[in-house]
């Protein structure tokens, strides 16, 4: 009997080989919309909620047979908001601006923070953070009700430690704070940790399998902060969060995301209980090396380039990259193949099709490449 996506992911997360390599993908909202139009007929038949609150996905997840579904919550949801306004403020008092850019597939938008609510040193004294009880959990409940038995469910409570400091203080100031205004940095990060921990508990109660934390700690080829600063300022908070989440449910798995080069920190992440590492950008770290060096102790998620291959390569380039990743990262399990970020608007439909067809072509276990 065929196994479900959920079982496939559970086997992979146990560092064993299921029937095939599990996969998933996400899209920027404009690409999501284009794909919904392209596959309108096919998704009509799909049950489930029609639009996700922040980054509509579910029907496409089901259509493309993704093994894992994502539920986005917390501070990072400010990034994508379904609004006509060019600038908007979220619940944290962060002001975001949508920046348009042209692609062959139309106009896309990325978002930047233009006003940081805690930019002034004194602002923290009168700041009231949002209440996690105000988060609308109905989307998570509905998705889990429809798909929780069949699919592996990932709750996102990302950007909760150092990233939250950047969101609230500003990137420049937060880089100073983390080494020179440590008390203030702790206070702000702890506030965010409390919020996201409560949110994590709510998602565990609803029945997620995995919780996704994130903090961008890497530049393209270098850490943003030193390993020493990470170990002093960030790691204990991650350890606390993960410990509390696993105390709540000892079977819960933890994913951690950081863009860029973070190789010197991977042992630390394993140390605090991270089970799954995302995205291993091939421009910054060699996925084959990371698999060899750390693969028996941490699972890998993503590795397919959204910076080069998917937007700028040919379908053959996409196939070659997927073949290489499956050959080097899939043996022994512990691998969820995916794009390293949301598939961008300048990606061709042909390359998206090549992404899925190549995984089908090469993804069966045992790997014979």
């Amino acid at each position: 009997m065929a196994i479900t996506s959920k079982e496939r992911m559970q086997i992979a997360m146990d560092h064993k080989e299921p029937d095939r390599v599990p996969y998933q993908a996400t899209f920027v909202p404009e690409m999501d919309k284009l794909l919904r139009q392209k596959y309108a007929k096919e998704i009509e038949r799909i049950k489930g909620k029609t639009t996700e609150k922040y980054q509509g996905m579910t029907e496409l997840d089901i259509l493309f047979e993704h093994d894992m579904l994502l539920l986005t919550y917390g501070i990072s949801t400010g990034y994508y908001r379904n609004t006509q306004e060019d600038t908007y403020m979220d619940e944290w008092g962060i002001t975001w601006r949508k920046i348009p850019y042209k692609t062959p597939n139309g106009i896309g938008h990325y978002t930047e923070i233009i006003k940081f609510p805690l930019a002034d040193d004194d602002a923290i004294n009168s700041y009231v953070p949002p209440d996690p009880d105000n988060e609308d959990m109905t989307y998570a409940e509905e998705v889990i009700r429809y798909y929780g038995k069949e699919k592996y469910i990932c709750g996102i409570i990302d950007c909760s430690v150092f990233e939250a400091l950047k969101y609230l203080r500003g990137i420049t100031q937060s880089l100073i704070d983390i080494v020179a205004n440590k008390d203030l940095a702790h206070k702000i990060m702890d506030m965010s940790v409390d919020y996201h921990l409560k949110l994590g508990f709510k998602l565990i109660e609803r029945g997620v399998d995995l919780l996704w934390l994130a903090d961008d700690l890497g530049g393209e080829h270098k850490l943003l902060i030193s390993p020493k600063t990470f170990r002093e300022m960030v790691k204990p908070k991650l350890g606390y969060m993960i410990g509390e989440l696993k105390k709540k449910n000892r079977n819960i798995k933890i994913a951690f995301h950081s863009d860029g080069y973070i190789e010197p920190l991977i042992d630390d992440l394993i140390d605090v209980g991270v089970d799954l590492l995302n995205p291993i950008q091939p421009e910054s770290m060699d996925p084959a090396f990371i698999k060899k060096r750390f693969g028996s102790r941490i699972s890998l998620w993503a590795t397919v380039s959204t910076q080069k291959t998917l937007p700028f390569g040919t379908p053959q380039d996409v196939e070659n990259e997927i073949k290489e990743r499956i050959k080097t990262c899939a043996p022994g399990g512990g691998f969820l193949i995916a794009p390293t970020h949301n598939i961008q608007l300048d990606t061709s439909f042909e390359n998206i099709e090549a992404f899925y067809s190549s995984i089908k072509k090469y993804g069966s276990y045992p790997v014979k490449l």
Partner: protein, 216 residues
């Protein structure tokens, strides 16, 4: 504190990035009669150059670099004021208008380059972030700048560097100012394509580039 000790501590505190202490030491140096020009050239500049090297060797990270640049700048301002008061001008290596192009609000890289250029004796006019062509060009004209330095941190704002160069041509002043470009996605190839006079990959090389452009 003996004069020699002040000088040594000035160097050490720029290295460790202690803003308050560096500022205090600069004031102390002045009151003890340290020659401000010597303090800049013999202590601040070597310290910030070592910071740049350590960053290149991955011994220092962004927070260290930013702290050191801020500390260095706090002392530099004090010494420059003092030089100015004495009626002597610090010999300028050249005038540079620097900013991040329109649509782009990234400031860290640009500010570090500006700080290093100041330390090396350039007269730096930092026009900030999200800067439109008119502001860049009017400032170049107003200050009779030798170099225009433009930063872009996004592939989608890189073309604006070309737009500013085109505007310089339209106004007939392209040959009056050297143009240097930088930023994470920017490459030598891009710089050549848009007709810039130079590109540097990091802040230390940006200073070397500015120095070489001044010799041309």
């Amino acid at each position: 504190m003996a004069i020699e000790e002040i000088k040594k501590e000035l160097y050490n505190n720029v290295l460790s990035g202690d803003f308050e202490l560096t500022k205090e030491l600069a004031l102390k140096a002045i009151s003890e009669g340290v020659n401000p020009l010597e303090a800049i050239n013999s202590y601040l500049v070597p310290a910030i150059e070592l910071v740049g090297e350590k960053f290149g060797r991955k011994e220092y990270f962004l927070p260290d670099l930013m702290r050191s640049a801020n500390a260095m700048k706090s002392a530099l301002d004090i010494f420059e004021t003092e030089i100015h008061k004495s009626g002597i001008e610090r010999k300028s290596q050249g005038k540079i208008v620097i900013g991040t192009v329109k649509g782009d609000i990234h400031e860290i890289g640009k500010s570090i380059v500006a700080a290093l250029l100041s330390a090396k004796g350039f007269d730096v006019i930092d026009v900030g972030i999200d800067v439109c062509s008119d502001i860049f060009i009017n400032k170049v004209i107003e200050k009779k700048a030798d170099i225009l330095a433009m930063s872009a941190l996004l592939p989608i704002t890189m073309p604006y560097q070309a737009a500013v160069i085109e505007e310089l041509k339209k106004r007939g002043i392209r040959d009056k100012v050297k143009v240097m470009v930088g930023g994470a996605p920017v490459t030598q190839e891009h710089a050549d394509k848009i007709g810039a006079d130079g590109y540097a990959d990091n802040a230390v090389d940006a200073v070397k580039l500015a120095e070489s452009l001044m010799k041309q």
